[in-house]
């Protein structure tokens, strides 16, 4: 008999592989399921971990470098901190851990080791939050082509089958009707502030749109700019450090206003940016996993910027095929039309009804 505890295996490589894990953690706890969230970066060597912030800076400043990185397969086994990994697997064995939700392919090497050392079966959901394999999964596939055979693959969205299967409800709050929303647009570059979003801000300002901008660094904010509100995640935060309560926490978030020291706070149930997104006319962003999740949960249309890698291109293709978003170029040609976005909002509401809640699905599959 295994342990009922669910181990949620995240990665800080992108917030899309981290925030959904913490949301699932919160929702499983509410269903009285014991959980533990682990972040992969705590199981790589210090020298590799120390390079992450450098990579993040490079990819933020140079989207081309980021795009190139998405095409670079790397064998993560070369980076593992072997003592920490062995200690973790020993702990899992002692506790007879059985249930896992996996958001990054890097973890599969550890699960393979656990599987080889225990005499009970594992219940592992490989949870794909993109509609195609993101870099950790595609690297895994390259070096371990049969990786799926012992585990259950769960595609929230599947670009190969052109299906949207499951949703993660970021919040249980009701969707805000479109016409009741403030006339504002959120614009961001995902967790690492990547992509072309910054270049769009001047033309959107010129068009008179009111923007909620997620800046990446303080010097990118211009708190005196008319019609713009700035927000930031706490720059001192990183996904692999634990918060005051000993657990991992959602990125502390603050509005940036003139003359006021930012006060970064986080909630347990969802990232505070979602509270801005759920009341916006649209989100202007690259089609990353977090953006798709937020859009489907809040029925907020995505205005699609350039994708980060093939998996995000596939996300965009799927979202457009279902009429759940619009390309930035088409929206711009329409004169930044709100009328084009409202039908997308209604399609998102319909699609949300069709997709199954992943937390419920996991509970049914695991505990019956």
């Amino acid at each position: 008999m295994g342990n009922r505890k669910v181990t949620i295996l995240c990665s800080g490589f992108g917030l899309g592989f981290y925030i959904p894990g913490l949301i699932l953690d919160y929702q499983l706890n509410k269903r009285e399921v014991e959980t533990e969230v682990l972040v992969f970066e705590n199981y790589i060597t210090e020298d590799k971990k120390n390079k992450i912030n450098g990579s993040r800076q490079t990819y933020h400043a140079n989207f081309k470098a980021a795009l190139l990185s998405a095409r670079m397969p790397s064998d993560i086994r070369d980076s593992l901190a072997l003592d920490e990994v062995a200690g973790l697997i020993e702990q899992w064995k002692l506790e007879k851990r059985q249930h896992f939700i996996v958001l990054s392919g890097h973890w599969v090497y550890l699960l393979d080791q656990l599987r080889a050392q225990v005499d009970y079966s594992l219940n592992v959901h490989l949870l794909y939050v993109d509609s195609d394999r993101s870099p950790s999964w595609s690297s895994l596939l390259k070096y371990n082509p049969d990786y799926v055979q012992h585990y259950r693959e769960v595609w929230l969205y599947d670009s190969n089958k052109q299906q949207l299967n499951y949703r993660i409800d970021v919040s249980e709050q009701p969707i805000i009707p479109y016409l009741e929303r403030s006339d504002r647009y959120v614009i961001h570059g995902g967790g690492w502030g990547m992509g072309t979003y910054q270049g769009k801000i001047p033309e959107l300002q010129e068009a008179g749109l009111q923007l909620d901008v997620v800046a990446y660094e303080l010097h990118e904010t211009n708190v005196n700019a008319p019609n713009i509100r700035y927000y930031m995640n706490d720059p001192a935060w990183n996904a692999w450090s634990r918060g005051e309560n000993g657990g991992h926490q959602l990125p502390p978030f603050s509005e940036i206003t003139a003359g006021v020291e930012p006060h970064y706070t986080s909630k347990l149930e969802h990232h505070r940016l979602y509270d801005v997104i759920k009341g916006a006319r649209g989100v202007i962003s690259k089609p990353g996993a977090g953006s798709l999740m937020d859009a489907l949960s809040s029925a907020t249309p995505i205005i699609l910027l350039d994708a980060f890698g093939k998996h995000e291109q596939r996300n965009a293709g799927l979202w457009l095929a279902y009429g759940l978003g619009i390309t930035y170029e088409d929206w711009q040609k329409s004169g930044y039309s709100t009328e084009m976005l409202e039908p997308i909002h209604h399609k998102l509401i319909q699609q949300k009804k069709v997709c199954k809640n992943y937390t419920d699905y996991f509970m049914e599959e695991t505990y019956g």
Binding site: K51, N62, L68, S69, P73
Partner: protein
């Protein structure tokens, strides 16, 4: 041009011994010792140095299978 590329790798790695050990047939990924971020910086530097813009939609890692192969790829795009 082969030597220029070897010099660039040597600079990124801060390892002058690579000037002697690398040649046109050397596999850039496997023999240079560059990690992924260094590799990315190398490719971006190559763009600047050789005044070429690489379209990463048609870029494949096989283009890095040797220094000469990468140079051939670059020259085709000049």
């Amino acid at each position: 041009m082969t030597n220029k590329m070897i010099e660039m790798i040597s600079e990124i790695k801060n390892d002058s011994s690579l000037l002697d050990t690398l040649n046109g047939q050397s596999n850039i990924i496997e023999e240079s010792g560059m990690d992924s971020l260094q590799l990315i910086n190398f490719i971006l530097k190559v763009e600047d140095e050789f005044e070429v813009e690489i379209d990463f939609d048609d870029f494949d890692l096989s283009h890095l299978s040797s220094i000469d192969t990468f140079l051939h790829f670059i020259n085709q795009r000049k």
